[in-house]
Protein backbone atom coordinates (compact mmCIF):
# COMPACT_ATOMS: atom_id res chain seq x y z
CA UNK A 1 0.00 0.00 0.00
CA UNK A 2 1.05 3.50 -0.71
CA UNK A 3 2.61 5.15 2.33
CA UNK A 4 0.78 8.35 1.44
CA UNK A 5 -2.55 6.61 1.96
CA UNK A 6 -1.50 5.60 5.45
CA UNK A 7 -0.44 9.14 6.25
CA UNK A 8 -3.72 10.50 4.86
CA UNK A 9 -5.79 8.11 6.98
CA UNK A 10 -3.86 9.18 10.04
CA UNK A 11 -4.27 12.86 9.29
CA UNK A 12 -8.03 12.30 9.01
CA UNK A 13 -7.93 10.69 12.43
CA UNK A 14 -5.93 13.62 13.80
CA UNK A 15 -8.80 15.88 12.73
CA UNK A 16 -11.29 13.67 14.56
CA UNK A 17 -9.14 13.83 17.69
CA UNK A 18 -8.68 17.57 17.38
CA UNK A 19 -12.43 18.02 16.97
CA UNK A 20 -13.15 15.95 20.09
CA UNK A 21 -10.65 17.88 22.21
CA UNK A 22 -11.86 21.21 20.82
CA UNK A 23 -15.47 20.31 21.60
CA UNK A 24 -14.61 19.73 25.25
CA UNK A 25 -12.60 22.95 25.47
CA UNK A 26 -15.44 24.92 23.88
CA UNK A 27 -17.94 23.52 26.39
CA UNK A 28 -15.62 24.35 29.26
CA UNK A 29 -14.88 27.89 28.09
CA UNK A 30 -18.51 28.63 27.23
CA UNK A 31 -19.88 27.46 30.58
CA UNK A 32 -17.05 29.22 32.39
CA UNK A 33 -18.01 32.47 30.69
CA UNK A 34 -21.75 31.98 31.11
CA UNK A 35 -21.68 31.06 34.80
CA UNK A 36 -18.38 32.55 36.03
CA UNK A 37 -17.19 29.05 36.95
CA UNK A 38 -13.65 28.83 38.25
CA UNK A 39 -11.72 26.56 40.54
CA UNK A 40 -11.03 28.40 43.80
CA UNK A 41 -7.98 30.53 42.99
CA UNK A 42 -7.81 33.02 45.78
CA UNK A 43 -4.13 33.82 46.14
CA UNK A 44 -4.33 35.43 49.56
CA UNK A 45 -1.48 34.85 51.99
CA UNK A 46 -1.71 34.73 55.77
CA UNK A 47 0.71 33.77 58.53
CA UNK A 48 -0.36 30.32 59.76
CA UNK A 49 1.56 30.70 63.03
CA UNK A 50 -0.45 33.67 64.34
CA UNK A 51 -3.97 32.93 63.09
CA UNK A 52 -5.30 32.30 66.58
CA UNK A 53 -3.80 35.47 68.06
CA UNK A 54 -5.26 38.24 65.93
CA UNK A 55 -7.28 39.03 62.84
CA UNK A 56 -10.03 37.34 60.94
CA UNK A 57 -9.48 33.76 62.08
CA UNK A 58 -9.43 34.05 65.87
CA UNK A 59 -11.70 31.56 67.61
CA UNK A 60 -14.38 34.18 68.34
CA UNK A 61 -14.61 35.20 64.68
CA UNK A 62 -15.14 31.73 63.27
CA UNK A 63 -18.53 30.59 62.04
CA UNK A 64 -21.31 31.89 59.84
CA UNK A 65 -21.87 35.60 59.31
CA UNK A 66 -24.67 37.14 57.27
CA UNK A 67 -23.48 40.17 55.32
CA UNK A 68 -25.41 43.37 54.76
CA UNK A 69 -26.28 42.34 51.18
CA UNK A 70 -27.83 39.05 52.27
CA UNK A 71 -24.90 36.93 51.17
CA UNK A 72 -23.21 34.79 53.74
CA UNK A 73 -19.56 34.40 54.72
CA UNK A 74 -18.40 31.32 56.56
CA UNK A 75 -15.01 31.47 58.28
CA UNK A 76 -13.50 28.28 59.46
CA UNK A 77 -10.25 26.66 60.46
CA UNK A 78 -9.05 23.25 59.38
CA UNK A 79 -6.62 22.00 61.99
CA UNK A 80 -5.37 18.67 63.27
CA UNK A 81 -7.89 17.03 63.64
CA UNK A 82 -11.06 19.03 63.39
CA UNK A 83 -12.84 21.74 61.55
CA UNK A 84 -13.66 24.70 63.79
CA UNK A 85 -16.57 25.15 64.16
CA UNK A 86 -17.82 21.59 63.79
CA UNK A 87 -21.24 22.54 62.47
CA UNK A 88 -21.76 25.22 59.83
CA UNK A 89 -25.22 26.56 59.08
CA UNK A 90 -25.76 28.08 55.61
CA UNK A 91 -28.97 29.39 54.05
CA UNK A 92 -30.58 27.43 51.24
CA UNK A 93 -30.15 28.89 47.76
CA UNK A 94 -28.12 31.99 48.64
CA UNK A 95 -24.50 32.70 47.65
CA UNK A 96 -22.18 31.48 50.36
CA UNK A 97 -18.49 32.39 50.54
CA UNK A 98 -16.42 29.95 52.52
CA UNK A 99 -13.09 31.20 53.81
CA UNK A 100 -10.87 28.55 55.30
CA UNK A 101 -7.24 28.28 56.30
CA UNK A 102 -4.95 26.05 58.33
CA UNK A 103 -2.62 26.83 61.24
CA UNK A 104 -0.63 23.60 60.87
CA UNK A 105 -0.51 21.26 57.86
CA UNK A 106 -2.33 20.74 54.55
CA UNK A 107 -5.99 19.80 54.82
CA UNK A 108 -8.82 19.44 52.35
CA UNK A 109 -12.36 20.75 52.35
CA UNK A 110 -15.32 19.12 50.61
CA UNK A 111 -19.05 19.09 51.18
CA UNK A 112 -20.02 15.60 50.04
CA UNK A 113 -22.20 15.56 46.94
CA UNK A 114 -21.67 19.23 46.05
CA UNK A 115 -19.15 21.32 44.14
CA UNK A 116 -17.82 22.89 47.35
CA UNK A 117 -14.21 21.73 47.35
CA UNK A 118 -10.83 23.28 48.04
CA UNK A 119 -7.41 22.46 49.34
CA UNK A 120 -6.49 24.14 52.61
CA UNK A 121 -2.80 25.02 52.51
CA UNK A 122 -1.12 26.66 55.50
CA UNK A 123 -0.02 30.15 54.54
CA UNK A 124 -3.03 30.78 52.28
CA UNK A 125 -6.69 31.60 52.76
CA UNK A 126 -8.79 29.41 50.50
CA UNK A 127 -12.02 31.05 49.43
CA UNK A 128 -14.82 29.54 47.41
CA UNK A 129 -18.27 30.80 46.58
CA UNK A 130 -21.19 28.52 45.81
CA UNK A 131 -24.85 27.86 46.63
CA UNK A 132 -26.44 24.94 48.44
CA UNK A 133 -29.87 23.83 47.29
CA UNK A 134 -30.53 20.70 49.29
CA UNK A 135 -31.70 21.37 52.87
CA UNK A 136 -30.40 19.16 55.64
CA UNK A 137 -27.08 17.96 56.99
CA UNK A 138 -24.18 17.31 54.65
CA UNK A 139 -21.01 15.51 55.62
CA UNK A 140 -17.93 17.72 55.35
CA UNK A 141 -14.87 15.46 55.64
CA UNK A 142 -11.22 16.49 55.42
CA UNK A 143 -10.11 15.18 52.05
CA UNK A 144 -6.34 15.53 52.26
CA UNK A 145 -4.05 13.46 54.44
CA UNK A 146 -3.14 15.62 57.45
CA UNK A 147 -1.72 13.10 59.90
CA UNK A 148 -2.85 10.03 61.81
CA UNK A 149 -6.16 11.58 62.90
CA UNK A 150 -7.17 12.45 59.33
CA UNK A 151 -9.89 9.80 59.04
CA UNK A 152 -11.89 11.20 61.92
CA UNK A 153 -11.70 14.82 60.85
CA UNK A 154 -15.11 15.87 59.62
CA UNK A 155 -17.75 18.47 60.27
CA UNK A 156 -21.34 19.05 59.27
CA UNK A 157 -22.65 21.63 56.84
CA UNK A 158 -26.30 22.30 57.66
CA UNK A 159 -28.34 23.82 54.81
CA UNK A 160 -31.13 25.75 56.48
CA UNK A 161 -34.42 26.61 54.71
CA UNK A 162 -35.11 30.34 54.48
CA UNK A 163 -37.91 30.27 57.07
CA UNK A 164 -35.60 28.74 59.68
CA UNK A 165 -32.74 31.13 58.93
CA UNK A 166 -32.80 33.45 61.93
CA UNK A 167 -29.37 34.89 62.66
CA UNK A 168 -28.73 36.90 65.84
CA UNK A 169 -28.62 40.69 66.02
CA UNK A 170 -25.02 40.77 64.73
CA UNK A 171 -25.88 38.59 61.76
CA UNK A 172 -24.15 35.61 63.36
CA UNK A 173 -25.71 32.20 62.81
CA UNK A 174 -24.93 28.95 64.58
CA UNK A 175 -26.36 25.45 64.38
CA UNK A 176 -27.82 25.97 67.87
CA UNK A 177 -29.96 28.81 66.49
CA UNK A 178 -31.61 26.52 63.91
CA UNK A 179 -35.05 25.70 65.32
Amino acid sequence: MDEKRIVRSELRWVFVVAAAVTLMLVVIVATTLANALHPPSNVETIDPATLHIAGEFTEANLGTQENADGTVTVRLIATQYAFVPRCLPVPEGRPVSIRVTSPDVIHGFIVAGTNANTMVVPGFVAELTTEFDEPGDHLMPCHEYCGLGHSNMWAVLRVVPEEEWIPDANGRMTCELVP
Binding site: A49, T79, Q80, V125, E127, L148, N152
Partner: protein, 265 residues
Protein backbone atom coordinates in the same frame (compact mmCIF):
# COMPACT_ATOMS: atom_id res chain seq x y z
CA UNK B 1 5.97 -3.62 0.76
CA UNK B 2 7.88 -0.76 -0.71
CA UNK B 3 10.36 1.16 1.34
CA UNK B 4 9.90 4.35 -0.57
CA UNK B 5 12.79 6.34 -1.86
CA UNK B 6 15.08 7.69 0.81
CA UNK B 7 15.21 11.45 0.45
CA UNK B 8 18.46 12.94 -0.75
CA UNK B 9 20.45 14.94 1.84
CA UNK B 10 19.23 18.31 0.54
CA UNK B 11 15.64 17.03 0.62
CA UNK B 12 16.34 15.81 4.13
CA UNK B 13 17.25 19.30 5.21
CA UNK B 14 14.08 20.70 3.71
CA UNK B 15 11.94 18.01 5.38
CA UNK B 16 13.69 18.72 8.63
CA UNK B 17 13.14 22.46 8.38
CA UNK B 18 9.43 21.90 7.70
CA UNK B 19 9.12 19.69 10.77
CA UNK B 20 10.93 22.17 12.99
CA UNK B 21 8.87 25.07 11.71
CA UNK B 22 5.50 23.36 12.06
CA UNK B 23 6.24 21.77 15.43
CA UNK B 24 7.39 25.06 16.93
CA UNK B 25 4.55 27.03 15.37
CA UNK B 26 1.99 24.49 16.54
CA UNK B 27 3.27 24.39 20.10
CA UNK B 28 3.56 28.18 20.17
CA UNK B 29 0.09 28.76 18.76
CA UNK B 30 -1.50 26.47 21.34
CA UNK B 31 0.28 28.27 24.16
CA UNK B 32 -0.77 31.66 22.81
CA UNK B 33 -4.41 30.58 22.51
CA UNK B 34 -4.34 29.16 26.04
CA UNK B 35 -2.82 32.38 27.41
CA UNK B 36 -5.35 34.56 25.64
CA UNK B 37 -8.31 32.53 26.90
CA UNK B 38 -6.90 31.91 30.38
CA UNK B 39 -5.69 35.40 31.17
CA UNK B 40 -7.91 37.67 29.08
CA UNK B 41 -11.17 35.94 28.12
CA UNK B 42 -12.42 33.83 31.01
CA UNK B 43 -10.86 36.02 33.67
CA UNK B 44 -13.32 38.75 32.66
CA UNK B 45 -15.97 36.79 34.54
CA UNK B 46 -15.41 36.43 38.25
CA UNK B 47 -11.64 36.50 38.41
CA UNK B 48 -10.87 40.17 37.99
CA UNK B 49 -8.94 40.35 34.73
CA UNK B 50 -5.29 39.62 34.11
CA UNK B 51 -4.06 40.45 37.59
CA UNK B 52 -6.80 38.29 39.06
CA UNK B 53 -5.82 35.43 36.81
CA UNK B 54 -2.21 35.86 37.95
CA UNK B 55 -3.39 35.82 41.56
CA UNK B 56 -2.20 39.33 42.27
CA UNK B 57 -5.22 41.35 43.39
CA UNK B 58 -6.82 39.27 46.11
CA UNK B 59 -6.33 41.64 49.00
CA UNK B 60 -9.09 40.81 51.41
CA UNK B 61 -10.65 43.55 53.48
CA UNK B 62 -11.63 42.01 56.78
CA UNK B 63 -14.95 43.51 57.85
CA UNK B 64 -14.76 45.77 60.87
CA UNK B 65 -17.10 43.50 62.81
CA UNK B 66 -14.66 40.62 62.75
CA UNK B 67 -11.36 42.43 62.62
CA UNK B 68 -10.71 42.52 66.34
CA UNK B 69 -11.12 40.03 69.10
CA UNK B 70 -10.91 41.01 72.76
CA UNK B 71 -7.59 39.82 74.18
CA UNK B 72 -9.35 37.99 76.98
CA UNK B 73 -11.18 35.79 74.48
CA UNK B 74 -7.93 34.39 73.06
CA UNK B 75 -6.76 30.96 74.19
CA UNK B 76 -3.10 31.90 74.40
CA UNK B 77 -0.52 34.51 73.45
CA UNK B 78 1.94 31.93 72.20
CA UNK B 79 2.47 31.46 68.49
CA UNK B 80 4.97 29.15 66.79
CA UNK B 81 6.66 31.96 64.92
CA UNK B 82 10.31 31.94 63.95
CA UNK B 83 10.94 34.20 66.96
CA UNK B 84 9.37 31.74 69.42
CA UNK B 85 11.07 28.71 67.89
CA UNK B 86 14.35 30.66 67.83
CA UNK B 87 13.99 31.43 71.53
CA UNK B 88 13.79 27.70 72.25
CA UNK B 89 16.70 26.91 69.94
CA UNK B 90 18.92 29.45 71.69
CA UNK B 91 17.84 28.44 75.20
CA UNK B 92 20.35 27.24 77.79
CA UNK B 93 19.41 24.03 79.63
CA UNK B 94 21.98 24.66 82.37
CA UNK B 95 20.44 28.05 83.17
CA UNK B 96 17.10 26.27 83.16
CA UNK B 97 18.35 23.68 85.62
CA UNK B 98 19.47 26.42 88.00
CA UNK B 99 15.99 27.94 88.00
CA UNK B 100 14.37 24.51 88.30
CA UNK B 101 16.33 23.65 91.42
CA UNK B 102 15.17 26.82 93.14
CA UNK B 103 11.64 27.24 91.83
CA UNK B 104 10.15 24.05 90.37
CA UNK B 105 11.77 21.16 92.19
CA UNK B 106 9.52 21.19 95.24
CA UNK B 107 6.53 20.05 93.14
CA UNK B 108 7.88 18.81 89.78
CA UNK B 109 11.17 17.39 91.04
CA UNK B 110 14.56 18.67 90.00
CA UNK B 111 14.69 16.23 87.07
CA UNK B 112 11.05 16.81 86.20
CA UNK B 113 9.50 13.80 87.96
CA UNK B 114 6.62 15.16 90.05
CA UNK B 115 6.54 14.58 93.79
CA UNK B 116 2.76 14.12 93.96
CA UNK B 117 -0.01 12.91 91.63
CA UNK B 118 -1.61 16.34 91.45
CA UNK B 119 1.41 17.67 89.52
CA UNK B 120 2.50 16.71 86.01
CA UNK B 121 5.87 15.19 85.20
CA UNK B 122 7.88 17.56 83.04
CA UNK B 123 10.82 15.31 82.19
CA UNK B 124 11.04 14.49 78.51
CA UNK B 125 8.11 16.69 77.55
CA UNK B 126 8.66 18.67 74.34
CA UNK B 127 10.23 22.06 75.05
CA UNK B 128 7.45 23.67 73.03
CA UNK B 129 4.78 22.17 75.31
CA UNK B 130 6.48 23.30 78.54
CA UNK B 131 7.18 26.76 77.16
CA UNK B 132 3.59 27.26 76.05
CA UNK B 133 2.10 26.24 79.39
CA UNK B 134 4.49 28.48 81.34
CA UNK B 135 3.63 31.42 79.10
CA UNK B 136 -0.08 30.72 79.43
CA UNK B 137 0.18 30.61 83.23
CA UNK B 138 1.99 33.92 83.20
CA UNK B 139 -0.55 35.56 80.89
CA UNK B 140 -3.50 34.07 82.70
CA UNK B 141 -4.77 32.02 79.77
CA UNK B 142 -4.28 28.93 81.90
CA UNK B 143 -5.55 29.64 85.35
CA UNK B 144 -3.60 28.60 88.45
CA UNK B 145 -2.79 31.12 91.17
CA UNK B 146 0.26 29.18 92.25
CA UNK B 147 1.70 28.69 88.76
CA UNK B 148 0.82 32.27 87.79
CA UNK B 149 2.93 33.53 90.67
CA UNK B 150 5.85 31.33 89.60
CA UNK B 151 5.60 32.05 85.88
CA UNK B 152 5.12 35.79 86.17
CA UNK B 153 8.53 35.97 87.81
CA UNK B 154 10.20 34.55 84.68
CA UNK B 155 11.27 36.23 81.46
CA UNK B 156 10.43 34.53 78.16
CA UNK B 157 14.06 33.52 77.82
CA UNK B 158 14.02 31.92 81.27
CA UNK B 159 10.86 30.01 80.39
CA UNK B 160 12.67 28.73 77.29
CA UNK B 161 15.69 27.75 79.44
CA UNK B 162 13.41 25.79 81.77
CA UNK B 163 11.62 24.20 78.84
CA UNK B 164 14.79 22.85 77.22
CA UNK B 165 16.14 21.72 80.58
CA UNK B 166 13.11 19.56 81.39
CA UNK B 167 12.81 18.40 77.80
CA UNK B 168 16.30 16.92 78.01
CA UNK B 169 15.61 14.92 81.19
CA UNK B 170 14.68 11.24 81.09
CA UNK B 171 10.90 10.84 81.17
CA UNK B 172 9.12 8.87 83.85
CA UNK B 173 8.65 5.24 82.98
CA UNK B 174 5.16 4.60 81.70
CA UNK B 175 3.44 1.84 83.65
CA UNK B 176 1.55 -0.08 81.02
CA UNK B 177 -1.87 -1.33 81.96
CA UNK B 178 -1.79 -5.09 81.33
CA UNK B 179 -5.45 -5.35 80.42
CA UNK B 180 -6.91 -2.06 79.28
CA UNK B 181 -10.61 -1.98 78.25
CA UNK B 182 -10.90 -2.70 74.53
CA UNK B 183 -13.09 0.36 73.94
CA UNK B 184 -10.41 2.61 75.44
CA UNK B 185 -7.67 1.06 73.31
CA UNK B 186 -9.93 1.74 70.31
CA UNK B 187 -10.22 5.39 71.32
CA UNK B 188 -6.48 5.67 71.70
CA UNK B 189 -5.45 3.98 68.43
CA UNK B 190 -8.47 4.55 66.17
CA UNK B 191 -10.62 7.25 67.76
CA UNK B 192 -14.34 7.17 67.15
CA UNK B 193 -15.49 8.08 63.62
CA UNK B 194 -19.09 8.39 64.80
CA UNK B 195 -18.24 11.28 67.12
CA UNK B 196 -15.46 12.71 65.00
CA UNK B 197 -13.01 11.86 67.77
CA UNK B 198 -9.48 11.48 66.42
CA UNK B 199 -7.26 8.82 68.00
CA UNK B 200 -5.53 10.25 71.10
CA UNK B 201 -2.28 8.80 69.77
CA UNK B 202 -2.50 10.87 66.57
CA UNK B 203 -1.35 13.91 68.56
CA UNK B 204 -0.17 12.65 71.96
CA UNK B 205 2.63 10.42 70.81
CA UNK B 206 6.26 10.32 71.85
CA UNK B 207 6.98 9.94 68.14
CA UNK B 208 5.96 13.43 67.17
CA UNK B 209 2.79 15.29 66.39
CA UNK B 210 1.44 18.82 66.29
CA UNK B 211 3.89 21.37 67.66
CA UNK B 212 3.40 21.97 71.39
CA UNK B 213 1.51 18.74 72.08
CA UNK B 214 2.61 16.76 75.15
CA UNK B 215 2.95 12.97 75.07
CA UNK B 216 0.84 11.51 77.88
CA UNK B 217 2.56 8.26 78.88
CA UNK B 218 3.83 8.23 82.44
CA UNK B 219 1.86 11.23 83.71
CA UNK B 220 0.03 10.81 87.03
CA UNK B 221 -3.45 9.48 86.18
CA UNK B 222 -5.05 11.84 88.65
CA UNK B 223 -3.52 14.85 86.89
CA UNK B 224 -4.70 13.65 83.46
CA UNK B 225 -8.26 13.07 84.68
CA UNK B 226 -8.35 16.46 86.34
CA UNK B 227 -7.20 18.23 83.17
CA UNK B 228 -9.57 16.34 80.86
CA UNK B 229 -12.44 17.19 83.18
CA UNK B 230 -11.39 20.83 83.22
CA UNK B 231 -11.27 20.93 79.42
CA UNK B 232 -14.70 19.28 79.21
CA UNK B 233 -16.19 21.80 81.60
CA UNK B 234 -14.54 24.72 79.83
CA UNK B 235 -12.58 25.59 82.99
CA UNK B 236 -9.35 25.18 81.08
CA UNK B 237 -9.35 26.94 77.72
CA UNK B 238 -5.77 27.56 76.62
CA UNK B 239 -6.01 24.95 73.86
CA UNK B 240 -5.72 26.62 70.45
CA UNK B 241 -9.05 26.52 68.57
CA UNK B 242 -10.67 24.60 71.41
CA UNK B 243 -9.49 21.23 70.20
CA UNK B 244 -9.15 19.66 73.65
CA UNK B 245 -12.32 21.36 74.90
CA UNK B 246 -14.20 19.77 71.99
CA UNK B 247 -12.62 16.32 72.37
CA UNK B 248 -12.97 16.18 76.14
CA UNK B 249 -16.52 17.49 75.87
CA UNK B 250 -17.48 14.50 73.74
CA UNK B 251 -16.01 11.97 76.17
CA UNK B 252 -18.13 10.48 78.97
CA UNK B 253 -16.82 10.84 82.55
CA UNK B 254 -16.19 7.10 82.56
CA UNK B 255 -14.11 7.35 79.38
CA UNK B 256 -12.14 10.24 80.87
CA UNK B 257 -11.33 8.17 83.95
CA UNK B 258 -10.37 5.13 81.88
CA UNK B 259 -8.24 7.16 79.44
CA UNK B 260 -6.44 8.76 82.38
CA UNK B 261 -5.82 5.30 83.79
CA UNK B 262 -4.67 4.00 80.39
CA UNK B 263 -2.06 6.69 79.84
CA UNK B 264 -1.26 7.56 83.43
CA UNK B 265 0.62 5.88 86.22
Amino acid sequence: MSNGESPRPSDQDAVNRRWRLWASTGAGAIVVVAIVIGFFVISSRGEGGVTGALGLDHVHETPEAVAQTAAGALPTDVAWTAATLGLLEDADPEAGRAIAVQTCASCHGEAGIAVAAAFPNLAGQPATAIFKQLSDYASGHRVSPMMAAMAQGLTAAQMADLAVHFAAETPAESIVDANPPAAIVQLVVNGDPARGLPPCSACHSARGGPVGTPPLGGQPAAYLEQQLTAFAAGERGNDIYGLMRAVAGMLTPAEIAQLAAYYGN
